[in-house]
Amino acid sequence: MAFIDANTADKNAYDVIVVGSGAGGGQTAYTLTMDGAKVLMLEAGRKYDPAIETPMMQTSGEAPLRGTGTPEKPFGFWDATIDGGWQVPGEPYTSASSDPARQFQWWRARMLGGRTNHWGRISLRNGSYDFKPKTRDGLGFDWPMDYADLAPYYDKVEMLIGVYGGDEDLENTPRSPKGVLLPPPAPLVSDLLFKKHAAKLGVPAIAGHRAVLTTRLDHARLPKLLHPGNAKAQAILAADMQKRSACIFATPCGRGCSIRANYQSTTVHLPPAMDTGNLDIVTDAMVRSVIRRNDGKAEGVVYIDRKTGNEHRAKARVVVLAASALETVRILLNSEVANSSGKVGKYIMDTVGASLGGQVPLLENMPLQDEDGVDGLHLYTPWWLYQEQLAGKLGFARGYHIEFGGGRKMPGMGTAAGMEWLNGGNYGRKFKEDARRYYGSFFYMAGRGEMIPNDDCYAELDPTVKDRFGIPVLRFHWKWSAHEIGQAAHMEKTFAEILDAMGGRYSRKPQSGEKAIKQGGVIIHEVGGAMMGNDPKKSVTNSFGQCWDMKNLFITDGATLCSNADKNPTLTIMALAWRASDEMLRQLKRKEL
């Protein structure tokens, strides 16, 4: 079993088809194949091999335009994303409103491993409040599970992929059991400066959590914990863990990692899954719809070979959609299945984003030091005002965390640019002196906050527009509520206060919430659209992502999330996928599917 072509795949019999190869699809395929299920994975993008395609140590100066972002490579030339971005040629989406504030930006990647190749690797657990938000403040929806239901799967995912973090135990910011996390990296000078001065404002700073191997994984201990009683799985994983190197504290994670020192599906989930011999992968396979049998069950999927344009049909006992939340919504709507509740496409969410940066004189003219570190989030600030908020003192309902940083990072097009606000504008030897003086003295803070699902944010099929394969596309409706806008204003005001406390200066004043908040979708944490729940009339799936209307159709990407806590969703998606896959295996063994 291996990479195969569509014609071969169509003839084979599989236990499970997994649509998508990112965090959700990768975890699903891993869990299923390690337990012996025969899986066909369909990926819309091309085959991608990080071992030979990653620009590990190239400098900005070695890229066209010094690596700066363009519409063809929005996150910069060296970013791992292939055939992706806010727009994918030939694959449009539309917006119901011409007002930019009511438009949604949809990031996609068309490559094996999807967005996990370039993501920020920030891996935060939801806390107990995050599963029962409606119970706590009356807004949004409760999940059909508690933190205790998912905690064992957070443990498993963290041990499998490798996540660094500390052992702080703060409100609604769960710590992991001993022996699960890797040690956090040493903070940078700018991190410590933030920590010292933010503390005066009651703002905490603790070790970040990211899926980066600060040390190698313990291949002797972890496989036994992850796959008890499964000697074959233990052996495969132990061998694979030994092929992953520790971080070399250089080169940005967003380029991907050829030495497999951080998590991406292509370096962590797929290699051991392939080693089981139970996984076939077809790339360039654009899924159009789920095939519904006469008895109401899923028979398989219809997909289009992007290279030939030919239509194919793959069949299996179970179909899993993990195409990314909104692509999964699109497949469901085009299939006209699993939607007796009418909730498919409803309650889509992104993360609230606002940011402010400035310059800190205490960080000028620093001694030479290598501050590449693990490329971000050595420290971060979890939400710290739960009680004030519950008491109604803030005027908005949910919290945010702060991602902050500075340091002497690899120079790019922003280096020594736009210094007029500091030095008035000069040239010559004085300019070169100022470039040295100010380099490394800039500091940014970005808020990442919880959005509450609302009736104004949803996706539907556009009545006329189709993509280049003839598949109807999504049309988005979007509107932030006063909660998100109030939260964004609070972010910028807080960031300005912290910069003041650090003795820093900012190039612009904090803005109103309406101006500060990023457009929907821009933070690329879109989730929802096929919400899980306890009531088939009000939700699309049960807590295992199993569709109420089609028992052998599961969803293991972000589409099932009932809320979008400020914690970046990828770790939660993986934990849910593992839990769903365990349930799939139980039902397969009981021949219920």
């Binding site: 010094r66 040493a186 600060t214 504290f249 040239y427």
Partner: protein, 212 residues
């Protein structure tokens, strides 16, 4: 280059500077740059990320030889040689700026409409003040012009547009220079090396920031 944009830009400058009104575009007969070809492709959404890229590779360069001389003179005015590092033009910044303003992407196309008229203006200004092109005047003479346009906040109204051009050009020069090996060394970037462990800041850095 886009002549309509140039003329518009020159006109805006001329409107506030009566003495510039006699200037006519292209009087020397030397076009500053070839047009960026209509429909010029970029590097695409799946470029080779492990090959060595050079200016002129992903799309053709367009600056004329006289324009490149002006660019070199301006780059080296902004980043001259000093004890720490050579001048900008010595490490490929002219080629980089040519790559930038010849690129088919929206931001770079917009910058082209600032840079090309700016190059034309600065030669014209040099001719007016010193009867020679900018590349042919002395360092002291270049400084006289630069002093009038290096600060957008302080530039006199008649130099406001030229000051905006200078700011843009300065940013491009800096980005081009500090991303080269000598530029990275000059500014004090010591990363991008493989380490077996990450120790965090040295004590002297902590002391300097009031943290130890």
């Amino acid at each position: 280059m886009d002549r309509r944009t140039t003329i518009k830009w020159m006109f805006a400058a001329a409107a506030s500077v009566p003495q510039l009104q006699g200037l006519s575009y292209g009087a020397t007969g030397d076009p500053l740059a070839r047009e960026v070809a209509a429909g010029q492709a970029g590097y695409g959404t799946d470029p080779d990320l492990v090959k060595v890229w050079k200016p002129g590779g992903p799309w053709p360069l367009t600056l004329s030889e006289p324009a490149r001389r002006t660019v070199a003179a301006l780059c080296d005015l902004i980043i001259p040689a000093d004890d720490a590092s050579p001048a900008a033009s010595a490490v490929g910044v002219v080629e980089f700026i040519d790559e930038w303003i010849s690129a088919p992407y929206p931001n770079q196309r917009a910058d082209r409409t600032i840079v090309l008229p700016g190059l034309e203006w600065i030669d014209a200004e040099s001719q007016k003040r010193f009867k020679k092109k900018f590349a042919d005047i002395s360092a002291a003479q270049r400084a006289k012009i630069a002093d009038d346009i290096c600060s957008p906040a302080n530039a006199r109204p008649e130099f406001a547009t030229a000051a905006k051009f200078f700011s843009k050009f300065r940013d491009l020069t800096a980005g081009g220079f500090y991303t080269t090996p000598v530029g990275m060394k000059d500014i004090g970037y010591t990363g991008n090396v493989s380490l077996s462990k990450f120790d965090g800041p040295p004590l002297e850095a902590l002391k300097k920031a009031g943290l130890a």
